[in-house]
C-alpha cells in the first residue's frame, strides 16, 4: 500500500510539472501591442457583457475564484497572474487561444476583444493604460456589396461599389465574389467564384429546386473573396423568395426513436412501462409474501 501511495505521489508530481512545463509563450512582437483607443467606463460595461457570454463559463465571475475545474485551471482574471501581463499578451491569448482555451479570432471583433480587456483591467486599481497607438491608415480597397434578384433574367445580381478619393464612390471592377445560401448546419456555396465586370456587377444563376422555407424564402449572402485580407469588405445579405417551397415537419415533431422524450413511440412506452410494472409487481408480491412468513409462526 505504501508503494501505491508513493506511486500516486510520484504521479501527481509528474503531472504537476508537466502542466507547468507546457508554458504558453506570447511572441515578442505581440507583447507590446496596445489598444488604438482609450478605455472608457462604457467600454468596460460592453466588455462585461461580452465576458459574461464568452468567458465566464470557464473563468468564473471576476474576483470570486469560482472558475471551472479544468486542467490546466483557467484561473480568475482579476488576480495577479492575469494582471501582471501586458495588454498585448492578454489580447494575443484571447485572439489565438490554446487548447482548451478557444481562439476568439473569428468569434469576437477586434474592438470587442479590447473591451473585454478594458473590463478585466477595471478590477486592477493599479492599472494605467499605455498610450493608445492609432492604427496606420488603411490604403487598400474598401468594397461594399449589394444584391438583388432579377426576375426577368432569373438571376441574382451582385453589384460591388468601392470608395474612391474624397468620399466619392464608384463601381468596383475585378472583385472576386462568392455566393452562399444558408443551410441547416452552415452555409453552402452556390456556383463558382465570379469576378465583377467594369460596371462592378456579377450574376449568379440560382437553382430553382433548392429548398427554402414554407414560403420559399432562402437566406443568401454575397461575400468578397479576399483570402489575404487586403481589402475592407462588407457582405450583402438578403432573404429572397426564390427557393422551392418546403413545409417538412421538424424531425422531433413526430413520434420516433430519435425524437425527444415526449415524442417516444407509443409501442416503446407501452413495452417499457408494462415490463417494469409486471416485473416489479412480482417483486412487490414477493416482498408482501415475505411479510406473511412472520405472521405464520404463530399458527
Amino acid at each position: 500500500m505504501r508503494f501505491n501511495k508513493l506511486l500516486l505521489i510520484f504521479f501527481i508530481f509528474s503531472v504537476g510539472t508537466r502542466v507547468s512545463a507546457q508554458t504558453w509563450v506570447v511572441p515578442d512582437d505581440q507583447k507590446g501591442v496596445v489598444a488604438s483607443f482609450k478605455f472608457t467606463p462604457d467600454m468596460q460595461k460592453q466588455g462585461e457583457q461580452i465576458y459574461v457570454k464568452n468567458c465566464q463559463s470557464c473563468h468564473g465571475q471576476m474576483g470570486k475564484d469560482n472558475w471551472a475545474k479544468l486542467t490546466p485551471p483557467p484561473g480568475d482574471l482579476s488576480k495577479e497572474k492575469a494582471q501582471v501581463q501586458t495588454d498585448g499578451e492578454l489580447f494575443y491569448r484571447i485572439t489565438a487561444g490554446k487548447v482548451p482555451m478557444p481562439e476568439f479570432r473569428n468569434i469576437l471583433a477586434e474592438d470587442d476583444r479590447w473591451w473585454v480587456i478594458a473590463y478585466i483591467r477595471s478590477f486592477n486599481p493599479k492599472y494605467v493604460q499605455p498610450n493608445p497607438v492609432a492604427k496606420a491608415a488603411f490604403t487598400g480597397r474598401i468594397v461594399t456589396l449589394a444584391m438583388q434578384y432579377s426576375d426577368p433574367m432569373k438571376k441574382i445580381v451582385v453589384s460591388a461599389t468601392e470608395q474612391l478619393k474624397e468620399g466619392q464612390t464608384g463601381p468596383a471592377a475585378g472583385v472576386e465574389v462568392m455566393l452562399y445560401v444558408k443551410r441547416y448546419f452552415g452555409s453552402m456555396q452556390v456556383g463558382d467564384i465570379k469576378t465583377t465586370n467594369a460596371k462592378g456587377e456579377v450574376m449568379f444563376e440560382f437553382p430553382a429546386d433548392l429548398p427554402g422555407n414554407k414560403d420559399g424564402f432562402v437566406e443568401v449572402t454575397a461575400r468578397v473573396n479576399d483570402p489575404k485580407s487586403v481589402m475592407k469588405t462588407t457582405p450583402a445579405n438578403a432573404a429572397l423568395a426564390i427557393g422551392a417551397k418546403t413545409d417538412k415537419p421538424s424531425l422531433t415533431d413526430t413520434r420516433a426513436w430519435w425524437s425527444v422524450r415526449s415524442q417516444a413511440p407509443i409501442w416503446i412506452l407501452l413495452t417499457y412501462t408494462l415490463s417494469v410494472i409486471i416485473v416489479w409487481g412480482f417483486i412487490l408480491y414477493i416482498v408482501y409474501s415475505i411479510m406473511k412468513i412472520r405472521k405464520l409462526s404463530k399458527g
Binding site: M1, L7, V15, K69, W257, R261, V279, I290, S297
Partner: protein, 442 residues
C-alpha cells in the same frame, strides 16, 4: 433412523457449515487490508472529482476507456447467478445446491457495484438521478439502468429467501455468532419455525424469482451490448452482440464461481460439501460456455473479416496484426482456446488446476472487454482536426487505474462479508436434501 442419529447429523452439518461465522484475527486483517486499499483508490477518485475526468486518459476520441470496460466486465460477472440458479437449477440439477449461494453472492456483489462503476465514468456524478428524471424511453441507457436495478433486487431477494431458514438456525445454534448480531439475525429470520406454510411461501417465491431472473439477466447484458451495437462503428456494428456478450458473461461468471469455490473450500474447510465432483462439473460448465463463446467469437470476426468493409478492415487489422495484436492474441488464446483444450481432460478439472485456469480466464475476460470498448474508438469515421497527440491514442493513467481497481476491492468486501456471516452453502436446504430436516424450533 432414530431421532438421536438425526439430531447428530443435523448438528454436524450445522457445525460444518457455520464454524467460520465468527470474528477472528485473519478476518480483521483481511478486511483491514481491503479497507486501506479501498481508501487509497477513493483518494484517487477524490482527485478525479476535484479536477475532472481530465485526470483519466480518456479524451475526445476514446471517451469510453477502462471505466466502461470495467462496467461491461462487472455486468458480465453478475450474470452467473442466473445461469447457475435459474437455468441449471430449474432443469433440476441437484448437485448444484452447494454452489447456488456462491453464485448468488457473486451476482449480488457484482450487480451492486456495476452501478457504481458507471458513476466513475461520470464527470458530474451528482447528476446521476437525471437518468431517471430526464431519461428517454427510447434510449438503451435508460433500459440499462432499469434492468440492472431490477436484476440487483431480484438477486438480492434470491440470496435472502434461502437465508431466512439458515438465520433461524444460526441465531439459535451457533455460539460463535457475535452477540450484537443475534437480534439482527432473529429479526431477519422472520420468526421462521419450519412451518409448512412458511416453507411453501419461500419455495413459491424462489420459483417466481428464478423464472423472472432469466429474462432480467438476459436483458441486462443484451442491453449493455446494445449500448455499443446500436451505433454503426466498426467492431460494434454487429447483430450478434447480444448473445456474444451473454455467452462471454457466462464464461467470466463460471470462472468467478470456481475461484470462489476454491477459496471457500480451503479457508472454511468445506471439502465434504464442495467435492471434486463439484469442481469437475463446474469445469464442464466452463468448457461448455467457453465453446459457445468461441462460436460467437468466430462469427464476430470471420463475417466482417470476409467482407472487409473499409472501416472493419482497419479495425480488424489493428486487432489481428496491428497495435492491439499482442493483447488480442493473448486474450483469445490464453483466455479461451487453451483453457478449452485443457478443460477437455479430467485431471485439469481437479480443484487446483481448474482454479488456475479460471484465474487466467477471468483476467483475459477483463482485457477482452477492454479490446471490445477501446480500439473501435481510436478509428473514428470523422477524425477531429488539429487535436493534440494524446487524443488519438488512449493511454490509461495511474489515477484511472486506481479508480478501476476500487470496484474489485468493493466486490471482495461484499463477498467477504456475506460469506463470513452466513453459511457459504445453504444450510437448511442441505439438511433437507440429506433427509435430516426434523429441525425443532422453540
Amino acid at each position: 433412523m432414530t431421532m438421536d442419529e438425526n439430531k447428530l447429523t443435523f448438528d454436524k452439518i450445522t457445525a460444518d457449515l457455520t464454524h467460520h461465522i465468527r470474528i477472528n484475527k485473519g478476518f480483521l486483517l483481511w478486511m483491514g487490508f481491503l479497507t486501506v486499499s479501498l481508501l487509497v483508490c477513493l483518494y484517487a477518485y477524490s482527485l478525479q472529482l476535484r479536477n475532472g475526468l481530465g485526470v483519466a486518459g480518456i479524451r475526445d476520441y476514446v471517451t469510453w476507456g477502462m471505466y466502461l470496460a470495467n462496467f461491461v466486465f462487472f455486468v458480465a460477472a453478475s450474470l452467473i447467478g442466473m445461469l447457475i440458479s435459474a437455468v441449471l437449477g430449474l432443469i433440476g440439477m441437484k448437485w448444484l445446491t452447494p454452489i447456488t449461494r456462491i453464485a448468488e453472492t457473486i451476482a449480488v456483489a457484482f450487480a451492486a457495484v456495476a452501478g457504481l462503476v458507471i458513476v466513475s465514468d461520470m464527470g458530474r456524478p451528482e447528476r446521476l438521478a437525471y437518468v431517471f428524471l430526464y431519461g428517454r424511453p427510447q434510449s438503451p441507457i435508460l433500459w440499462d439502468v432499469t434492468v440492472i436495478t431490477t436484476y440487483f433486487v431480484l438477486s438480492l431477494l434470491l440470496l435472502f429467501l434461502p437465508l431466512i431458514a439458515d438465520m433461524a438456525i444460526i441465531h439459535r445454534k451457533v455460539p460463535t455468532l457475535p452477540s450484537w448480531l443475534k437480534p439482527v439475525y432473529k429479526f431477519l429470520s422472520l420468526n421462521f419455525t419450519n412451518h409448512p406454510e412458511q416453507n411453501k411461501i419461500i419455495n413459491r417465491s424462489i420459483r417466481i424469482l428464478l423464472i423472472l431472473l432469466i429474462p432480467a439477466a438476459l436483458s441486462i447484458h443484451t442491453v449493455t451490448s446494445w449500448l455499443f451495437a446500436v451505433t454503426s462503428r466498426a467492431g460494434w456494428d454487429s447483430t450478434v452482440f447480444g448473445p456474444y456478450f451473454v455467452s462471454g458473461a457466462f464464461v467470466a461468471g463460471s470462472a468467478a464461481v470456481i475461484i470462489a469455490m476454491f477459496f471457500f473450500r480451503k479457508n472454511y474447510k468445506l471439502e465434504n460439501y464442495l467435492t471434486d465432483m463439484h469442481f469437475n462439473n463446474m469445469g464442464k460448465v466452463l468448457a461448455t460456455v467457453s465453446l459457445v463463446y468461441l462460436y460467437f467469437n468466430i462469427n464476430e470476426f470471420l463475417v466482417p473479416g470476409y467482407k472487409l468493409k473499409h472501416a472493419d478492415a482497419i479495425h480488424l487489422q489493428e486487432l489481428f496484426a496491428g497495435k492491439d495484436a499482442i493483447l488480442f492474441w493473448i486474450v483469445q488464446l490464453g483466455g479461451l482456446i487453451i483453457p478449452i483444450l485443457f478443460l477437455l481432460f479430467r485431471r485439469f478439472r481437479n480443484p487446483m488446476p481448474l482454479m488456475l485456469i479460471s484465474a487466467a480466464v477471468m483476467i483475459a475476460a477483463w482485457f477482452k472487454r477492454y479490446l471490445i470498448v477501446v480500439p473501435t474508438q481510436e478509428h473514428p469515421f470523422l477524425p477531429i482536426q488539429h487535436v493534440p497527440q494524446n487524443f488519438v491514442h488512449y493511454t490509461p493513467t495511474l489515477i484511472e487505474t486506481l479508480i478501476t481497481i476500487a470496484p474489485f476491492i468493493l466486490v471482495l468486501i461484499i463477498i467477504t462479508l456475506i460469506s463470513k456471516f452466513f453459511p457459504v452453502i445453504p444450510l437448511h436446504e442441505t439438511a433437507v436434501e440429506k433427509g435430516v430436516d426434523h429441525v425443532k424450533f422453540d
